[in-house]
């Protein structure tokens, strides 16, 4: 309206709007370092005259001031979703990398103290027995070497078992965290919807919700669906985890020890319906892969190596004759053929079957054993070679797989970094920009105040000085 008093209301609207904009800028500056904060902007719009002309209210072409229509949250939903996806992939790779690294550490190859070296020493021990079949020292040393190999296999196996148990534990605790986050997201959805209905912009609640969704996305891959009422649905593999203000829970089932994995793999399912959850990314995806295929694969290979060792040595030992003239008995316990329980069963050094030639009977009817060493020499050169080769191949393949995961992880880290930068570019707070805004809002406020002063003096002239 083109009146003096009307101008005051224009000035008032300016003062109020600029102050509101200053508050928003203040909020941005205060939260410059808050993780996950999305910057906000006060959107101002000019207030026009009344559109419908009526008898006593007609627009004269000049507007009625300014109003802040909303405080906009500058978030790019596409970048958010992309960041979630890439973080999920990175988490999964990080878990894989850690798994492989732990497995490598439990073998300690290449080096002078690993299983490969113990197998070599064991093989050479047979030659020492062949060089001096009557010497109990060489035989005792051989049994000792065998026990070292068995021990090392036991240790590696139990390291793998411990790693499996610890990964399972971590998986359980992550699923617990996901469940908690889901409940919290649902509660936030409820609060946001209520606030939106009341006409407020619950930007900070939305930030909290997004940060929870981000953490869930890195734990297990999720997709989000914003709803019209302001809530966001969170889905895992198409099934909803959070739907409005309702949250569902996940449970971990399946094997509780490494040796049960073949029969019942570790699995994730919905607590309410029991259907399986297809989780392939995020920490959870990484742990499921580790628990169900990576660790069991190396454990199985180790078991096969132990079994081949037991079989090869026992078989060749059986073809020979010992110092008592008897045919060779079991060197390793034939009922214990896994890496966890392989054990040396021979205890009397004389029962090491070094000779390939059987005993003879002398004139007095006594058994005369042969001091031949060919059976021992055969074990030294031939019987242990396949086991040693298989072990070496397993280690090399482990190294390759681990190296490949490391490369993928560092590539993915670069991708995540780049996505992060993009997201930050859209949503992050730039202090220089905020300070500039401060100045412009402050100047506008000063100018509006000056306008009030001028209108005041105009009114003063009109009321107090005209026709005085």
């Amino acid at each position: 309206m083109g009146t003096e008093l009307g101008s005051l209301s224009t000035a008032l609207s300016a003062l109020q709007s600029e102050r509101k904009a200053l508050e928003v800028t203040g909020q941005n500056i205060a939260n410059a370092n808050t993780a996950g904060y999305t910057r906000q902007r006060a959107n101002m719009q000019a207030v026009g005259g009344s559109v419908q002309p009526a008898m006593y209210s007609k627009s004269d072409g000049i507007g009625n001031g300014v109003t802040v229509v909303d405080v906009q949250r500058l978030q790019d939903a596409f970048l958010e979703q992309r960041a979630n996806t890439e973080n999920g992939a990175l988490s999964s790779l990080n878990v894989s990398q850690q798994t492989y690294s732990d497995i490598e550490n439990s073998f300690g190859e290449p080096g002078a103290t690993g299983i490969q070296n113990l197998l070599s020493t064991f093989a050479n021990g047979w030659d020492d027995v062949a060089n001096n079949p009557k010497d109990p020292g060489a035989r005792t040393a051989l049994i000792g070497d065998a026990q070292s190999v068995a021990s090392a296999l036991n240790t590696s196996s139990s390291a793998l078992n411990a790693q499996w148990a610890s990964s399972k534990q971590t998986l359980n605790s992550e699923v617990g965290q996901i469940n908690d986050a889901a409940t919290n997201i649902a509660a936030l959805n409820k609060a946001i919807v209520a606030a939106a209905n009341a006409g407020n912009s619950p930007n900070d609640l939305m930030d909290q919700r997004d940060s929870l969704i981000r953490s869930v996305a890195s734990m297990i891959g999720v997709t989000t669906k914003p709803q019209a009422d302001g809530s966001t649905d969170v889905l895992i593999g198409g099934s909803s985890l959070v739907s409005g203000s309702l949250a569902r829970q996940l449970t971990v089932g399946g094997a509780s020890a490494l040796d049960q994995v073949a029969a019942t793999p570790v699995s994730l399912s919905w607590a309410d319906s029991g259907t399986a959850v297809n989780a392939t990314t995020g920490d959870v995806g990484g742990y499921l892969t580790s628990l169900n295929s990576t660790i069991p694969s190396y454990s199985d290979q180790l078991d096969a190596i132990a079994s081949s060792l037991v079989t090869a040595v026992n078989a060749q030992q059986a073809l020979g004759y010992d110092l008592n003239g008897a045919a060779g008995g079991n060197f390793f316990d034939p009922t214990k053929t896994t890496a966890a329980n392989i054990a040396v069963t021979i205890s009397d050094p004389n029962t090491v079957a070094a000779s390939a030639v059987g005993p003879t009977v002398d004139a007095n009817g006594n058994t005369v054993p042969s001091l031949d060493g060919a059976n021992a020499q055969l074990i030294a050169s031939t019987s242990l070679k396949p086991t040693s080769d298989t072990y070496r191949q397993m280690i090399v393949q482990l190294g390759s797989a681990s190296q490949s995961v490391q490369q993928k992880t560092s590539t993915q880290q670069a991708v995540v970094q780049q996505v992060q930068t993009s997201r930050d570019s859209a949503a992050g707070v730039d202090l220089d920009e905020e300070q500039t805004n401060l100045i412009s809002y402050q100047q506008a406020y000063n100018a509006a105040a000056q306008y009030v002063t001028v209108i005041n003096s105009v009114l003063d002239t009109l009321i107090n000085r005209m026709l005085a």
Binding site: A32, N124, V357, A380, V396, L398, T421, G428
Partner: protein
């Protein structure tokens, strides 16, 4: 559209760069302190394969060297024994020739010769029972302490067996390191001991046969020197293979080192460069982070 760069973006980019620097530094540090460039299989899978193969081969060849040393001892002991045996037979030849030439000669001189022949027989017996590490070297694979025993009537018989003692001195290569009793002393019934007995009895009652005995002695000498030749050949063979093994171990050790061990000079150079790069990024970071509009607004 120009990209907005916020303080947070700058900080996190710089931190990521620093992290990268740190992790490269830490890898180099680990290499320098362990002396190895392969600390786990994923550092170099191909190198790991080579290193493991080299280790296995070095271990096996070192064992071949042990086996070879033992074999050489066997053969060396046999050589000394056979040498003594040859001397004994040569002395026997001299004595028998003397007895044969004396003709119908002096029974006293023949008695003296007979005594010495008996003594030579005992010496030969002790040579035949030479041991190495508690085993009779001419006894084959017998567990008995001696190869030959003598009964109450002075008849010597063989109580060993005909087994071969082999030593693995190279891949798929075994060499026999014992001399069989038949190769050194002759087969049972016609060995050197029955020859001694024959000569003893001929000296007493059948001097005419002494010339036949001389040809037996000559056969026995021939047999023993031939055994020496066999032993010598085996000795040379093992020595050559042992030298091969030694050279192989040296080469393999050097190969292993070049695959596994860190090149210290290069590692230290890389480490120094990496440190300089780290310091440069710290310095750049400190300068950039301090820039802000606040400093200029009054």
């Amino acid at each position: 559209m120009t990209m907005r760069v916020t303080q947070n973006a700058v900080t996190s980019l710089m931190l990521a760069g620093l992290q990268g620097n740190q992790s490269r530094l830490s890898t180099l540090e680990q290499q320098l302190s362990s002396g190895k460039q392969i600390n786990k299989p994923s550092d170099d899978p191909v190198g790991t394969d080579q290193a493991m193969r080299f280790r296995t081969d070095i271990s096996r060849n070192t064992q071949y060297q042990r086996n070879a040393q033992d074999g050489l001892s066997w053969l060396g002991t046999a050589d000394n024994a056979l040498q003594s045996g040859v001397s004994i037979l040569q002395r026997l030849q001299t004595l028998t020739t003397q007895a044969a030439n004396t003709g119908s000669g002096n029974s006293t001189s023949r008695a003296a010769i007979a005594t010495e022949v008996a003594s030579l027989k005992q010496q030969m017996m002790s040579v035949a029972n030479t041991t190495y590490l508690g085993r009779p070297i001419f006894g084959g694979t017998t567990p008995n302490d001696t190869a030959y025993i003598q009964d109450a009537n002075g008849v010597v018989s063989y109580q060993g067996d005909s087994g071969a003692v082999m030593r693995t001195v190279a891949d798929n290569t075994q060499v026999q390191v014992n001399i069989s009793n038949t190769a050194a002393f002759g087969a049972a019934g016609s060995d050197v001991f029955s020859m001694f007995d024959q000569i003893g009895s001929d000296l007493q009652s059948n001097q005419g046969n002494l010339s036949n005995d001389l040809s037996s002695i000559s056969d026995a000498l021939g047999r023993m020197t031939s055994a020496q030749a066999t032993e010598g050949a085996a000795y040379n063979r093992i020595t050559a293979l042992n030298t091969s093994s030694t050279n192989l171990v040296t080469n393999l050790t050097s190969n292993l080192s070049s695959v596994e061990d860190v090149d210290t000079a290069k590692a230290i150079t890389d480490f120094t460069m990496q440190q300089a790069s780290y310091q440069a990024s710290l310095s750049a970071m400190s300068q950039v982070l301090q820039l802000s509009l606040t400093a200029f607004l009054k």
